[in-house]
Symmetry: C2
Subunit: 408 residues, 2 copies
């Protein structure tokens, strides 16, 4: 018997039938003797409907009122789920974020949780009730309703699990776990039983849309065991846990391979190689509110330097315009762009204690005649930029090279 | 410059365009220098949609969760109206019932208001903001959301006006005021400039669906000047006010004529005329949860008595079954029913100080050869039961007889 916080996303509660299916599932856990706190999102489509109404009222809807509006989505779901639980003979009580109360700052539409009062929830759990909490929302010091931004329901789940010292925070979604890579690219991709918070962060930021980065960070910080599971299929999912629980023997060198197709490359060539030049190039980019991912700088023989960085493809033309101005000012030779590239990353806490992971990666790509355009490394990740047409080939060959293919 | 509480019902905020029209109207009042508290209902259709979802979850939806669910309807409207007000350059802030806070008892789905904290609203008004409050909802001592039952938004408006000592509570609806009788029956019906709370109570309970009885009672109790107006047409509507404001000279004897087509008659004849027999007849009716309206008892020459009462037409067959059992027990002669009757009432505080009102009414009906089946009177009302086919004729002749026809 343990205390579980379960979070069901918008698709899992998207229809009357699905809410009923979730209720049956929760009731089953309850019958097994677990204490349950269930966090739910708005029924899928509802948030978009409300946003649509808001935009008809005001071109830029007032953030405070936007939160009043959007928070109704989850409020509908908690009430319906409690009714469905009671229809299943399971005592339940709903809580809005404000009722819990989940105290946040007053940054409407993107508030951050400051504290959670677990008193009422604890009393309901002790009374044998399932507690159903509206995800994505809280309340500020003045009693105004706030929301945590898209995907905030994951954060609500993790924060409640941390406050209640739950045994596990289970995120139910439409995939059955975290995979070594995208199964649509590599059919041999396998589900990971476990992954560390750090690896999950790298995988999430690289395009695995399974979990919100913020929730993973939060779970890591408060050491909340986090499990990703399929809402309506059996299975143990993927447990996201702290590093120390792995024994080095079991631990694979590489946990997963991420592919990011959203990047484009901008190169400014032939700029004077003097201190502060990188800042002169990149400050105008950030001032234009363009996020930069990979940055590589190389010194050429003629005392000039080339600087290449990647941005989101949607920002490439704006970045080019900024660079054209910078090039003029600094007397650079040229500015060029390329949006037919991808970023491939291998991620694994195991690479900390293994030498030769990078060379293994480069060798594997070389064997497929794939040219590497940029390289960047972190403690548990190596990313390369390659031509887009080699994306799938590169992922497949690395998946095999690092021994990630499914056992027969 | 005065403090106005304005209430707009579901039809008045039923679409994006109507919410915008309400916003423009409110902004105009604000520009004229008034302080404004605006109470709104859920967009028309929304409450029914939510009730439908609830019934799919649970045959008899849990009342606490029903309130969590239904209260989202008004919450959506307050947010949208505030956005629309801001788009009109009008500073505004929304409040749910809980945020105000409107404290109620814990009788979910039919809670009664216990107190209102006007502190926050007052601060916003002082800061020049329009305050938009969700009607129909409150919060109990434990912080659970409650609702006041259908039509509760009128009550919210009146209660806020009482708490804030507002100069007027304006109920905006789809009629332009209270009429001397139904204009669809008597084309000469005219709008009343004023009507007393007591008259309004009698008119409302007799089928004028303009205002909720509870809101009128509340307004009378706390002496809140209440005005009924059309949401989207100009006009001064009808002011519902206390008796004393009328001078007896201006005061008409009869204010209005109400027609109720929902009644049916049940007669039990030839029961022993002994003390307690009325109770023996009527207790089983109330135990069957059937509401009785008019009751008339007459003694016959043979020491037996006939007792006739009216019930809602939907309850007539059930009432008949109850009477058949009673008749057997008491040895009554017969039980008969009639659902082709109507009740016509003339209402007016003026009849207190005028004799001959009843005889004027009976004479007027006799001139049209309309037979009166039952009569019942109160201090400010005389009701008769007549055959249904004479309904319109009776209303028209009384309307003329009491001088209510529109001046040319």
């Amino acid at each position: 018997m343990s205390l579980l916080v379960q979070k069901y996303g918008g698709t899992s509660v998207g229809t009357v039938e699905r809410i009923q299916a979730v209720a049956e599932k929760v009731a089953k856990f309850k019958l097994q003797g677990h204490d349950l706190v269930v966090v739910v999102s708005a029924m899928s489509g509802e948030t978009n409907r409300l946003v649509g109404l808001a935009k008809e009222m005001q071109a830029m809807p007032d953030p405070r009122e936007m939160d009043v509006l959007l928070s109704t989505g989850e409020q509908v779901t908690i009430a319906l789920l409690c009714m469905a639980l009671k229809a299943n003979g399971c005592e339940a009580r709903s809580y809005t974020g404000g009722q819990v109360k989940i105290l946040t700052d007053d940054a409407h539409t993107k508030a951050r949780i400051q504290s959670i009062d677990e008193k009422n929830i604890r009393a309901d759990l002790n009374a044998g009730r399932v507690v159903v909490v509206a995800g994505f929302q809280g309340v500020d010091e003045n009693g105004s309703i706030t929301t945590l931004g898209r995907g905030g329901s994951d954060t609500t789940g993790v924060a409640l699990a941390a406050a209640l010292k739950a045994d596990e925070c289970q995120i139910y979604t439409d995939v059955d776990g975290v995979y070594t890579t995208d199964p649509r690219i590599v059919s041999a991709a396998k589900r990971l039983e476990r992954v560390t918070f750090e690896e999950m962060l790298e995988l999430a930021s690289l395009g695995s849309k399974v979990l919100q980065i913020r929730a993973v960070e939060f779970a890591g910080k408060y050491n909340v065991p986090l499990r990703v599971l399929h809402s309506f299929q059996e299975g143990s999912g993927t447990l996201i846990t702290i590093d120390e629980e792995f024994s080095t023997m079991e631990q694979p060198v590489i946990s997963g391979i991420a592919l990011n197709r959203d990047e484009a490359k901008v190169t400014i060539a032939g700029i004077p190689d003097i201190p502060g030049v990188a800042s002169k190039v990149l400050t105008p980019v950030s001032e234009a509110n363009i996020e930069v991912d990979v940055i590589v700088q190389n010194v050429a023989a003629d005392k000039t330097t080339d600087l290449t960085f990647t941005v989101n493809r949607n920002d490439m033309l704006r970045a080019k315009a900024v660079m054209d101005a910078v090039a003029k000012e600094l007397g650079a030779k040229s500015v060029s762009t390329d949006d037919t590239i991808v970023k491939i990353s291998i991620v694994g806490v195991g690479m900390r204690s293994h030498v030769g992971v990078a060379s293994e990666m480069f060798k594997s790509l070389a064997e497929e005649n794939i040219n590497i355009q940029m390289i960047t490394t972190s403690e548990i990740k190596i990313s390369v930029i390659i031509e887009e047409r080699y994306a799938e080939l590169a992922v497949r060959s690395l998946h095999t090279a690092f021994g990630l293919d499914k056992a027969e």
